[in-house]
Symmetry: C2
Subunit: 142 residues, 2 copies
DNA sequence: ATAAACTGATGCTATATTAGTATCAGTTTG
DNA sequence: CAAACTGATACTAATATAGCATCAGTTTAT
């Protein structure tokens, strides 16, 4: 079981990078190099984040990506939703006609409950929160 | 994001069925019909459960599957582990040499934490527990 | 004794998801 | 005007998920 796919993962790392260098334009290439991500893949990921107005871009030499959303308001669950869709069972048909064995839907309820929990946890995490923890870690332990 | 894959899901439903009809041999075909699962797929799933000594089988006419494990001790997390492997990031290389950007490993820690949470929740659920909830539901609601 | 209903073992196919690549057009800067 | 960038788009590769088919052997009822 994987909670995060690569695109979500890379997106978050890129956002962390952009938060650290706020106000600056960082090129996809430099981010990819620094965080060791596949360049073209990162580019397609960034285009998504642009669509969602989380980052903006500037073309040409000295262009690149810049954070426009408030990192304190970018929840990890938002990024997950963008790249992995809703946290939910894909083909659960409980309560409707199809699933006649309503009995086993108890299982569904439990899964839903746990999904909500996960959603909630990822909702509490923000990009800013992560950045803060990183800087603490760097100051603290050797 | 899907917490359970089909094989895990079918396995749990089959175990519920076997718990309800404990001591009896139920054929894979009858379980598949009742719970509307693909017959051959269910068969391969049951073979796994046999390997893990959760159910036993009897060949021939009137043969089938029977629960041998205590349903109160079959945790849902066990079934997940059988069919989906450990709940963990597949390719996290934090703390080791490969991941040099140790900064972002803060993300890893958080994910690990949430994974543990999920694991723990699924560890609290047992087949028996689900069966109990089902029977309550049947008595209760209209 | 034999047909029908079953599992054992095994190997295959189909589909979807995930991960990543490539290319061409256009923009900006030195 | 070349180099360093993004926009748009389409493609490929790898892996995981879901499911099917087949043959061999076992048990039971008739």
């Amino acid at each position: 079981m994987k909670l995060l796919t690569k695109n979500t993962d890379y997106a978050i790392r890129a956002l962390i990078e952009l938060t650290v260098h706020k106000e600056e334009y960082l090129s996809a290439r430099s981010i990819a190099n620094k965080q060791k991500m596949p360049f073209q893949f990162l580019r397609s990921i960034m285009q998504e984040l642009i669509k969602y107005k989380i980052v903006s871009s500037k073309e040409g030499v000295k262009g690149g990506l810049k954070l426009i959303a408030d990192p304190a308001k970018i929840k990890i669950v938002d990024i997950i939703r963008i790249f992995q869709g809703e946290i939910e069972l894909s083909d659960c048909m409980f309560q409707q006609k199809i699933c006649e064995n309503r009995k086993t839907c108890v299982l569904r309820k439990e899964i839903k409950r746990i999904e909500k929990l996960v959603e909630n946890e990822f909702g509490k995490l923000t990009v800013k929160g992560l950045v803060k923890k990183i800087s603490k870690q760097e100051k603290g332990g050797k």
